[in-house]
């Protein structure tokens, strides 16, 4: 393969064009359009022969080049005599290449900065300490950040059930102790989190019975916030015998 270009490296058609211009020492302000088009198409062929997916942008640029080339072949129209320069079909491409080159180099410069988390490090102990600083004033944020947060959230929600439980025979007692363990260090747990991703009937029944046992023992509270909504489990305070009235104050916070 005569094209020993590292194809992975090119971030786009403009990048590839700049490379070809530099490599063949062309004058960017007077690009030999026939030659660059040939080089460019050859590069695309090289990509194809390597079975690389050629992004649509590369093909669009190919047709742009061919188009410019064909316009260059047309005889100069009489009306263009006053401002020949403006009629150069390559003008926009040159604009774009020069512009792209500037940002490409700006990117290189940015890369040389001492980047936080890569080249320099700040103290990393104290991120998100917000909970502990109950009444600290908050820095203002834009409304768009709010929506961005939501968008990020929706990308992941609703959460996948996290526990894949493997077992051969199910007993209610085992389930009870397993649930207690799960509940041990959480303040609440969704029912879905208790069963495997595709629970079979048996698993569901045993889990449900175990929950009822626990509820009877007053070791958990079971809540559902709407009909058909998800079921939530809340472990009760340690002394299991004590009756816990379902007060609002009890609902939320510890």
């Amino acid at each position: 393969m005569s094209y020993e270009v590292d194809l992975e490296v090119f971030k786009g058609p403009l990048d590839l064009l700049l490379h070809l211009i530099k490599k063949h020492e062309m004058d960017i302000y007077d690009i030999p359009i026939a030659e660059i088009t040939a080089q460019y198409l050859a590069a695309l062929d090289a990509m194809k022969s390597l079975n690389l997916d050629i992004a649509g942008e590369f093909l669009v640029m190919a047709s742009t080049l061919v188009h410019i080339k064909s316009r260059m072949l047309l005889p100069v129209e009489a009306e263009a005599d006053s401002e020949e320069e403006e009629a150069d079909p390559r003008a926009e491409l040159v604009h774009r290449l020069l512009e792209y080159q500037r940002y490409k180099q700006a990117a290189v410069t940015l890369d040389e900065y001492h980047i936080l988390g890569r080249d320099v490090f700040a103290r990393s102990c104290c991120e998100d300490t917000e909970e502990s600083e109950g009444n600290a004033e908050l820095q203002p944020v834009g409304i768009f950040e709010l929506v961005e947060a939501l968008q990020g959230l929706l990308r992941e929600a609703p959460p996948e059930p996290v526990h894949e439980v493997v077992r051969e025979k199910l007993s209610v007692a085992e389930r009870v102790s397993m649930l207690l363990e799960l509940l041990g260090d959480c303040r609440s747990l969704a029912f879905e989190a208790l069963v495997s991703r595709r629970p079979n009937r048996e698993e569901l029944v045993v889990t449900f019975l175990a929950l009822l046992e626990l509820a009877k023992l007053r070791m958990i509270r079971i809540m559902q916030n709407q009909r058909c909504g998800s079921i939530w489990l809340f472990p009760t305070e340690t002394d299991a015998g004590r009756e816990l009235p379902l007060q609002d104050e009890n609902f939320g916070y510890c």
């Binding site: 040389e112 490090f121 929600a157 303040r187 809540m223 609002d248």
Partner: protein, 214 residues
């Protein structure tokens, strides 16, 4: 990553630089660091590292510095001096903090889905959100707007006047519609539209008691 970061052979550190690097490691570490970890990271014998730790410890103690080096069960750690605790606390309380991701997410859910229960929030966020809700209540960005007519009568939350002020909105109607954010990706578009279904109208501030959710 740039070339400079890839040099795999590292030079052997002279004593003064070793001390500086150890200081850097202690400074940047998220918690206590064991002697062996330090030695491994700087490629020096533990004895040599220990000597520099002792040096640093003495230095911090004798010179008037802002922190000291303490040896804990699971390693060494830099800590501010107990005498300075009051000032540190003051800074923490006077310093406007950045709103946490958790708080922002929770606010977003409350804003767009109000009235909403804590369980709704937790379902969407996938994590326990009691602490965040409480802190938002404390900051008055969120308020209790009623109780749901359902078993357990869970509390319903909505946004407050302070919420509007905080985000510089005149009314809830000024909240950007989620659709306006869908241009980024097709994928998020469907997510957002799902989410928004039902609250197409102005998110009405609190329709407590009766509201059975959208």
């Amino acid at each position: 990553m740039r070339d400079v970061n890839c040099r795999c052979r590292m030079k052997i550190l002279d004593t003064a630089e070793l001390k500086a690097v150890i200081e850097a490691l202690l400074f940047a570490a998220p918690g206590p660091v064991r002697l062996e970890q330090l030695a491994l990271a700087v490629e020096a014998e533990p004895d040599r590292v220990k000597r520099q730790l002792d040096e640093l410890e003495k230095e911090y103690r004798h010179m008037q510095r802002g922190f000291v080096l303490v040896e804990l069960a699971d390693g060494y750690q830099l800590r501010t001096r107990p005498e300075h605790a009051e000032w540190v606390r003051r800074l923490h309380s006077s310093r406007p903090v950045r709103i946490s991701r958790a708080a922002l997410e929770t606010l977003a859910i409350v804003a767009y889905r109000q009235p909403v229960t804590r369980a709704d929030i937790e379902y969407l966020r996938g994590v326990d959100s009691g602490g965040v809700v409480k802190s938002l209540l404390d900051k008055r960005l969120v308020r209790i707007v009623g109780k749901m007519d359902a078993p357990g009568r869970p509390l319903l939350y909505g946004t407050s006047r302070e919420f509007l002020e905080f985000f510089g909105l005149r009314t809830l109607k000024d909240l950007p519609t989620l659709k306006e954010f869908t241009e980024l990706t097709r994928e998020s578009e469907s997510l957002l539209l799902d989410f928004e279904a039902g609250i197409e109208e102005e998110p009405s501030p609190a329709a407590p008691e009766e509201s059975g959710e959208g």
